[in-house]
């Protein structure tokens, strides 16, 4: 079972090492981790996808909360949250199939962000499933290079993961 955690942390050097180190030494599995600054420059937000049952999730949450630099941990339920990843694919193209690639990109509402004589870079944001799907199609043309971010996630509606006053 996969869980998505939104973790607010102090924006300080070494915090990522503290969080990552915690996962490895306690034997928790990180599927992905994405981190960036929030609207408050003192606070960063991590989105961590972790696999494990409810007991594991419970321990992960409590252990994260024990870190002094961790301010808040929220479990985002998949039904109530939006999740997005970004991927870049460098695809091998030639005169014959370039338009075919463009068609696929249109269908997926992806973007072509670089065009070369023999390559194109396709940029796509979406759920992990959507990115997997376009990857499968692009494979037919030959993918030279892939880079994917970890998932970022946010609650739907008015609910927020914010620092309580």
């Amino acid at each position: 079972m996969k869980h998505t955690l939104a973790v607010l942390v102090e924006n300080r050097p070494g915090v990522l090492a503290r969080v990552a180190g915690l996962f490895s030494r306690r034997g928790f599995n990180i599927e992905s981790l994405a981190v960036g600054i929030t609207d408050n420059p003192d606070i960063s937000r991590m989105t961590i996808v972790v696999s494990g049952d409810d007991r594991v999730l419970d321990q992960v949450t409590k252990q994260l909360n024990k870190l002094i630099d961790v301010i808040k941990v929220s479990d985002l339920s998949p039904a109530d949250a939006i999740g997005r990843e970004l991927a870049l694919f460098k695809v091998k193209v030639d005169k014959g199939n370039r338009s075919e690639v463009i068609q696929i990109v249109d269908v997926f509402r992806a973007q072509i962000v670089d065009v070369g004589i023999k390559t194109m870079i396709v940029s796509i944001t979406g759920t992990g499933d959507k990115i997997d799907a376009i990857e499968k199609l692009l494979r037919n043309f030959g993918i030279i290079e892939v880079v994917r971010t970890g998932k970022v996630s946010m609650n739907r509606g008015a609910k927020t993961v914010k620092l309580e006053k």
């Binding site: 102090e10 090492a17 419970d58 409590k62 252990q63 002094i68 630099d69 301010i71």
Partner: protein, 566 residues
């Protein structure tokens, strides 16, 4: 307040330590610490110069455990800092409040593999409650304030502050902060009232309750509350190794230690309990044995200040997070309302007492010198001592055969099981409690891991008594080899290592040797009355084993005694 004084980082560190009322500090100088040590020269702090940084950490730990105050140690960069690591890990596992200060190479050289550089914040990440690398001298007072606050509150633990050399010579306008602002650190103190009520109702209905209590009681200062609870519900109390002294060993409701080398009756009681009231404990594997068969019929109530301990090892029915003292207070009030002076445990106590009578702790007295006998004599002659231990058989006998009545009188590396802990820790204990007779109960193996500190106790006149149970073996490992590896004593024989009496004398300490039971009491008397650091070499029965014993992987009621066949 508001008065700011211009000074160097080194001076600011000393001023910060004053503000935290640090009167004793264990340390060892080095290159990057020179500015700090120059300030230390005139400082109104009793600096104890150890002979190995590991001892500084253990001594700070012993001081903290004996007094409840934060222990402080100081070491230089690189090897000085890495030598602290075992001591920091020991303190971390046993929730000991400690601030470890390390020097670091100058900021501009960090990451360059400079001389005596080690990434000590990286190294200690998993064994500190928190750590800091100071990057701006202006942050130093705040960081020291936070370090002491974090170390001593909530579930206590070690905090390391790494200070690059340039920070100690940089200047700042010093002002010590009055409070800390840590939005990510707000330990829960007061227990959830509804949960406490739920627990009270379950306890009030229990017919076979057991109180399973540990170091959390001592840290929270909740011994009186524990006593009141035990008496109110008339339930037996088992204290873990870390909880020794939380409940008096000579109290009729005390059933001794649980687990691997616990009493049979403590283990039987836990296994047959219908409600297990667990306070300030963490269900360590040495206590639970085979976890699936632990307290199989019990509803488990778990009171702990650290939410991460709840349901970590066993499923808990009623968790209560918070300070043990305030929760026990609340709990007793609710239970008193429920019970109205009645208890339902009379037949349970009868049963427990029958086990107690049937399976007492015992050993074979055959005229040879037995470690258990020595412990009994220490207990009889100096019942108010503080007993510090090394790790292994000596530790278990010290736990079993001395009657602890007060908190902070049994001091031992429980979680990490650090050989070499006892002697330097005893040094710290004696610094914190000079009024007490302090024994380090040692094995000949453990003592040799930090025996260089004889120089420290002699130089600083710290009269601790090291009682070596000298069996010429790494005894606990030998015991396992005897029982589970066909007596193949692979690299556990260390006989004729050294003449401990001459070793003591070489350092200027008093050295005594005891080979017969009748010499025990005179030697103890001589040691205590000498007022000098003393090593007593008790040449004990070589292959004595610690019993009872739960074999690894067995349930705790599958506990074997001296007479049982393995």
């Amino acid at each position: 307040m508001g008065k700011k004084t211009r000074m160097t980082g080194a001076k600011a560190l000393i001023e910060s330590l004053y503000a935290e009322k640090v009167d004793v500090l264990f340390g060892y100088p080095g290159g990057v610490l020179l500015p700090i040590y120059d300030e230390m020269f005139d400082a109104d702090i009793n600096h104890i110069l150890v002979r190995h940084e590991q001892a500084a950490a253990h001594a700070a730990d012993g001081y903290a455990r004996a007094t409840g105050k934060v222990g402080v140690c100081l070491a230089t960069s690189g090897p000085g800092a890495t030598n602290l690591v075992t001591g920091i890990a020991t303190a971390y596992m046993d929730s000991v409040p400690m601030v470890a200060i390390t020097g670091q190479v100058p900021s501009s050289m960090i990451g360059n593999d400079a001389f005596q550089e080690a990434n000590i914040t990286g190294i200690t990440l998993p064994i500190t409650k928190h750590n800091y690398l100071v990057t701006d001298v202006n942050d130093l007072p705040r960081i020291i304030k936070e370090a002491f606050h974090i170390a001593s509150t909530g579930r206590p633990g070690p905090v390391l502050v790494d200070i690059p050399k340039d920070i100690t010579t940089d200047e700042l306008d010093f002002e010590y902060p009055e409070s800390v602002e840590l939005r990510g650190y707000k330990p829960t103190k007061i227990g959830h009232k509804k949960q406490v009520k739920r627990a009270a109702d379950v306890i009030s209905k229990a017919k076979q309750p057991v109180l399973y209590v540990g170091g959390g009681i001592i840290i929270a200062g909740a011994t009186d509350e524990l006593m009141e609870l035990a008496q109110t519900i008339n339930a037996p109390v088992t204290t873990t190794l870390m909880g020794k002294g939380a409940f008096p060993d000579d109290h009729p409701l005390c059933i001794g230690m649980p687990g691997m080398h616990g009493t049979k009756y403590a283990n039987y009681s836990i296994q047959e309990s219908d409600v297990l009231i667990s306070v300030g404990v963490r269900f360590d594997d040495r206590v639970t044995g085979k976890i699936e068969s632990f307290a199989p019929n019990a509803k488990i109530i778990h009171i702990d200040i650290d939410p991460a301990e709840i349901s970590k090892n066993v499923r808990v029915d009623i968790p209560i997070v918070g300070d043990a003292r305030s929760i026990l207070n609340m709990l007793v009030e609710f239970i008193k309302e429920d019970l109205k002076g009645q208890t339902r445990t009379a037949s349970w106590i009868k049963k427990v007492n029958k086990w107690k009578k049937q399976y007492p702790l015992h050993y074979k007295q055959d005229g040879t010198l037995k470690p258990q006998y020595i412990m009994e004599q220490i207990c009889d002659m100096y019942p108010d001592s503080i007993i510090v231990t090394e790790v292994g058989q000596n530790q278990m006998w010290a736990a079993q055969y001395f009657k602890y009545k007060e908190p902070r009188t049994f001091i031992s590396s429980g979680g990490l099981g650090t050989m070499g802990y006892g002697f330097p820790a005893a040094m710290g204990v004696k610094m914190g409690r000079p009024d007490k007779v302090v024994f380090d109960i040692a094995g000949d193996g453990s003592f040799q891991m930090n025996s260089q500190e004889l120089a420290t106790v002699v130089q600083n006149d710290i009269p601790v008594i090291v009682a070596i149970f000298n069996n010429g073996f790494l005894g606990m490992v030998r015991q396992w080899q005897e029982l589970f590896f066909e007596q193949r004593y692979s690299f556990t024989c260390i006989d004729d290592s050294v003449d401990f009496v001459k070793l003591a004398e070489a350092y200027g300490a008093l050295g005594l040797r005891v080979t017969k039971p009748e010499e025990v009491r005179p030697a103890l008397k001589e040691a205590v009355e000498s007022g000098r650091p003393t090593v007593i070499d008790f040449v004990v029965e070589r292959e004595e084993n610690v019993y009872p014993m739960v074999p690894a992987g067995a349930a705790i009621n599958e506990i074997l005694d001296l007479e049982d066949q393995l």
